[in-house]
């Protein structure tokens, strides 16, 4: 019966392919996990000042039910929590999500300062245009910036953040990430500081 042959051939091919894929998956699973982790670790290192460290495995997820929730990595110096590296995701990027690691110096209540920022994922932004937010011309304005009561916004929206010309959307998304990071640390920081460095 012809049909039987069809089924046998297709099933045979599918089984072989599935096995092959399973094997490749096993081989690549670990490198993929490490690649994802590496970005976070490097991001944390970049956004915190000398002598302050945060552990990529010691993290506080702001909202467990939201896969895009900000993630706080408490930063420690000499055993004391002195700030945090916060990974924030904005869904308002040009083509998708923008992920930025924000390094915040200080604990809530005693004045906060953005020390540095690092873009973790801007693959959905336009190369050469939106990606300019990672360059010093834009990113530099966040360094050593004091955090005030007012939420940050680009000039077009009444704030004083200078956007990348032609890339307002990406600039807005970046600003959104910084705001999210500051809010997250302000809200959950006190509890984390009280708990001490639980590394």
């Amino acid at each position: 019966m012809k049909e039987a042959r069809y089924v046998i051939v297709l099933t045979g091919i599918s089984l072989v392919c599935a096995t092959l894929l399973g094997a490749v998956y096993q081989v690549t699973e670990e490198p993929i996990r490490q690649a994802k982790n590496k970005a976070v670790v490097e991001g944390i290192q970049k956004v915190l000042p000398e002598g302050t460290k945060a552990d990529a495995d010691n993290k506080v997820i702001v909202d467990e039910s939201n896969p895009l929730s900000p993630v706080i990595y408490p930063a420690v110096r000499d055993g004391v929590v002195v700030g945090a590296a916060v990974k924030a995701t904005s869904t308002a990027g040009y083509g998708g999500n923008l992920v930025v690691m924000v390094g915040i110096e200080g604990v809530p209540g005693s004045g906060l300062k953005v020390f540095n920022t690092s873009v973790l994922d801007m693959s959905k932004e336009t190369p050469g245009l939106g990606t300019k937010v990672a360059e010093p011309a834009f990113a530099g304005q966040w360094n050593n910036r004091l955090v005030t009561e007012k939420a940050l916004a680009v000039k077009k929206d009444g704030g004083d953040v200078v956007a990348v010309s032609g890339a307002t959307i990406t600039s807005r998304a970046f600003t959104d990430c910084v705001n999210q990071a500051i809010n997250a640390w302000t809200k959950l920081g006190p509890a984390i500081v009280k708990g001490g460095s639980n590394g």
Partner: protein, 193 residues
């Protein structure tokens, strides 16, 4: 996010053809005449929406729980291929005239990157099922809009203008698409996702 905002976003701001570059092959192939453009748009709408629903359920009901996400590509394309076969059979039974009119374009929907692209995107964007469906509908409407606009332009282009011989056909079509894309750029930032 609001469903209406989602529709506006997918049709205008992030148009599937002019911004995301999905569905270019059928776009160039079918847009020469208005009636085939209409038929194609309807078929694509049907396939994209159904495919998105099935693949969404497959992804979150089977692949994720069983940690088989890496089988996404292969499972999704098989679902789409099967769906297109099924749609072909149904149309042939229900309306042989439509089947004749669509001809070769029906099986070609399988390789339309807009279908697979939409199915994959719907699982990556943190949508619930209803949002995924609206997303798929929006994508199809955006596809239809551009297809029809383009067909209307091309019908005139072929008749009335004197294009240099080496630009005739695909080259001038692409240049026209570039102008259309430029126009649609005006929509960016219109709605916030």
């Amino acid at each position: 996010m609001g469903l209406l905002t989602l529709i506006i976003w997918t049709v205008f701001v992030n148009n599937v053809i002019l911004s995301q570059f999905l569905g270019i092959c059928p776009f160039m192939g079918v847009s020469k005449k208005l009636d085939s453009a209409i038929g194609m748009s309807a078929a694509v709408l049907f396939v994209i929406v159904l495919a998105t629903v099935i693949t969404y359920l497959l992804q979150f009901g089977v692949l994720v729980p069983l940690k088989l996400e890496y089988l996404q590509t292969i499972m999704f394309i098989l679902v789409i291929a099967a769906l297109v076969q099924f749609v072909e059979m149904v149309i042939r039974k229900v309306s042989p005239a439509l089947f004749e009119a669509l001809g070769i374009f029906l099986p070609l929907i399988t390789t339309n990157c807009a279908v697979l692209g939409t199915a994959i995107m719907a699982t990556q964007k943190d949508f619930n099922l209803l949002q995924a469906v609206v997303f798929a509908v929006g994508i199809s409407l955006g596809f239809a809009l551009v297809l029809l606009l383009f067909a209307a332009i091309r019908e005139r282009l072929d008749l009335e203008t004197s294009t240099p011989r080496y630009m005739k056909g695909m080259p001038i079509a692409l240049v026209t698409a570039s102008i259309l894309s430029l126009a649609f750029l005006g929509f960016s930032g219109m709605v916030k996702m």
